[in-house]
């Protein structure tokens, strides 16, 4: 899986409450989550996520296990999330819902500038420089390629 998008820069310790607040968890309507994603961080951010690659700081997605967080980012049009480290549950949820997550150190972020990534070859390119990403397991790659665990499992059965 490969892609290129415009950079959206986030800091460290972005928790899943700030990705999608508890008050929006009553519904199962994904469009509501997409509309309000990252609202408490920056209310103007959601419309800019279509075709975006998020470059976040360490411990991305910490806190609550809510799977609504990676679903909201994906539904809003985020192509991939890059961070030097991810919180465990968010990382696994993202793969399970088909949102590419890439562990990569030192990627600089300039808002709006292009960021490219290749999961198959394990790299990120930003500002004309290529950075090596930590590889995903074969199984995780297959789940992402299938678009998530549900599709992956359906294809197996």
């Amino acid at each position: 899986m490969e892609g290129t998008g415009h950079a959206v820069c986030l800091g460290p310790d972005i928790d899943t409450d700030i990705i999608i607040a508890g008050r929006y968890l009553r519904t199962k309507d994904r469009s509501v989550w997409a509309e309000h994603v990252l609202e408490d961080l920056d209310p103007a951010l959601a419309p800019r996520l279509r075709g975006a690659v998020i470059v976040a700081g360490r411990n991305m997605g910490c806190g609550s296990s809510r799977e609504q967080a990676p679903v909201a980012l994906k539904e809003a049009g985020v192509l991939a999330v890059i961070a030097p480290s991810f919180a465990r549950i968010f990382f696994r949820n993202a793969i399970n819902v088909g949102l590419p997550v890439i562990e990569c150190d030192g990627v600089p972020c300039t808002a709006g500038e292009p960021v490219a990534f290749s999961l198959d070859e394990g790299w990120v390119k930003a500002g004309g420089v290529r950075y090596n990403a930590r590889p995903l397991s074969v199984r995780m790659q297959e789940i992402l390629d299938a678009g998530g665990l549900v599709n992956y499992w359906r294809a197996k059965e």
């Binding site: 310790d13 928790d15 409450d17 700030i18 607040a21 508890g22 008050r23 968890l25 009553r26 519904t27 199962k28 408490d40 360490r58 411990n59 910490c62 806190g63 609550s64 296990s65 809510r66 799977e67 609504q68 480290s85 991810f86 919180a87 465990r88 549950i89 696994r92 949820n93 399970n96 819902v97 397991s137 199984r139 998530g148 665990l149 549900v150 499992w153 359906r154 059965e157």
Partner: protein
């Protein structure tokens, strides 16, 4: 071979010797779903072709985040989960029984050596009775409900060895906050935290639950206390008993990612200041900050023992008229115990609002929300920006003793200074 508790638990349940780093499909002894993440998990279960759950007796189902239903969509989620419970033959604890993590433990649904998953990050609480318990998302839960098994990467462990004895009005919450402050909000990411040592051995199950509950706040996959005589006495008291024979005591010469020694003897009350759980300071550093709301409750500190700790600090005083004090027991059982001991009456007399067992203001979903500029002092587990209402509000985390002392004076107060 020498092993951590986590390695011993997975070796026991997978019938082969496993070590940290192994990836295993492991059997699930219990799977917990609640009203926030359960509906999505049930959808995923269906989407993966699920018709009947792997074992209805191993599914724990209840409502705690938005109870009684605070909106029509919440009520619809409850209806959907009630129907699922009935169709699948799953015992439904419904809205009245309490917070998932307290209920799962006090009903004996989790035993030493179990592998337990829950679609809630604080599922790590169950390590207090010697289980390996971890939070998962709704898709993984859909898979677990269908197959009764899940892929796990066996985590490395951090040994947190706590020596000494607590000074008066200092306890489990202060210890775990100080450990989080030391290790950082991602200091245990992908790892299990083993809480051991004389201070843990002397601690009762409620305190151990407080410590294990907050393992996730340092990124931990699990928090575990080795099961001992205290664990077995607790299990006997609730009519539960394990038939497992494995020795789950961790080996001192096992391979640990880190070994951290702590001494609680000189520990003072700790407070996590906004907006990260690892911004931990001594209470004396923040004493005097005015608070608008004090919340005593949650899966972290909503048990009888926590209310007793708060009541002892309260004594015959009243709460400050400038503070809204919200008391929420973590379960019906803990509520009744607190009620029968006369503590509920004392809190109400002193000016508190007492709500039925639920997550309460912890998640900022149902009630007790904060306005911009307001300050909350909370015995719960997260102080993220916006967690309890406005993003311009501030949440401080502390022990029940510190919460009670501060509620009396209307400003953050060292509980050791209250007579």
């Amino acid at each position: 071979m020498s092993a951590t508790i986590t390695e011993k638990i997975f070796s026991g349940r997978c019938a082969r010797e496993v070590v940290a780093g192994d990836v295993m499909m492991a059997p699930i002894d219990a799977a917990m779903i609640h009203d926030i993440t359960g509906p999505l998990a049930i959808d995923k279960f269906m989407e993966m072709g699920g018709t009947t759950v792997f074992d209805p007796a191993k599914v724990i189902l209840l409502f705690d985040h938005q109870v009684p239903a605070d909106s029509i969509p919440a009520a619809q989620n409850h209806v959907m989960m009630r129907r699922f419970a009935e169709e699948q033959g799953i015992l439904n604890y419904d809205v009245h029984e309490g917070v998932c993590h307290q209920v799962a433990v006090e009903k004996g649904r989790v035993l030493p050596g179990d592998i337990v998953v829950g679609s809630d990050s604080h599922t790590c609480t169950y390590g207090a009775v010697g289980a390996f318990a971890t939070g998962i998302g709704s898709t993984d839960m859909g898979f677990a409900l269908r197959f009764g098994a899940l892929y796990f990467r066996i985590p490395e462990s951090i040994r947190a060895e706590a020596a000494g004895a607590f000074a008066p009005r200092v306890g489990a919450k202060d210890l775990v906050l100080s450990i989080i402050g030391d290790l950082g909000a991602d200091g245990a990411t992908y790892k299990a935290v083993e809480f051991t040592g004389p201070a843990m051995e002397a601690m009762d199950i409620p305190g151990r639950m407080t410590c294990c509950n907050m393992a996730i706040e340092m990124g931990g996959k699990a928090g575990i206390v080795p099961p001992d005589a205290t664990t077995h006495a607790y299990l006997a008291s609730i009519g539960a008993r394990t038939t497992r024979k494995e020795d789950l005591t961790p080996d001192d010469d096992a391979t640990y990612a880190a070994w951290k020694d702590y001494d609680v003897t000189d520990l003072v009350p700790q407070v996590a200041v906004p907006h990260n759980v690892d911004n931990v300071v001594d209470v004396t550093d923040v004493a005097g900050i005015p608070v608008n709301q004090v919340f005593i409750g949650s899966c972290t500190n909503g048990r009888y023992d926590d209310f007793l700790e708060a009541a002892e600090v309260l004594g015959d005083e009243t709460f400050s008229p400038d503070v809204r004090v919200i008391i929420v027991p973590a379960s019906r059982t803990e509520y009744l115990r607190t009620l029968r001991a006369g503590l509920i009456e004392r809190f109400v007399e002193a000016g508190a609002i007492v709500e039925g067992p639920s997550c309460g203001p912890c998640m900022g979903g149902a009630f007790g929300l904060l306005a911009p500029g307001e300050v909350s002092l909370s015995t719960s587990n997260r102080n993220f920006r916006g967690r309890q209402g406005s993003t311009e509000a501030e949440v401080y985390l502390c022990s029940p003793a510190t919460a009670a002392a501060s509620a009396i004076h209307g400003v953050i107060t060292d509980p050791r200074e209250v007579a």
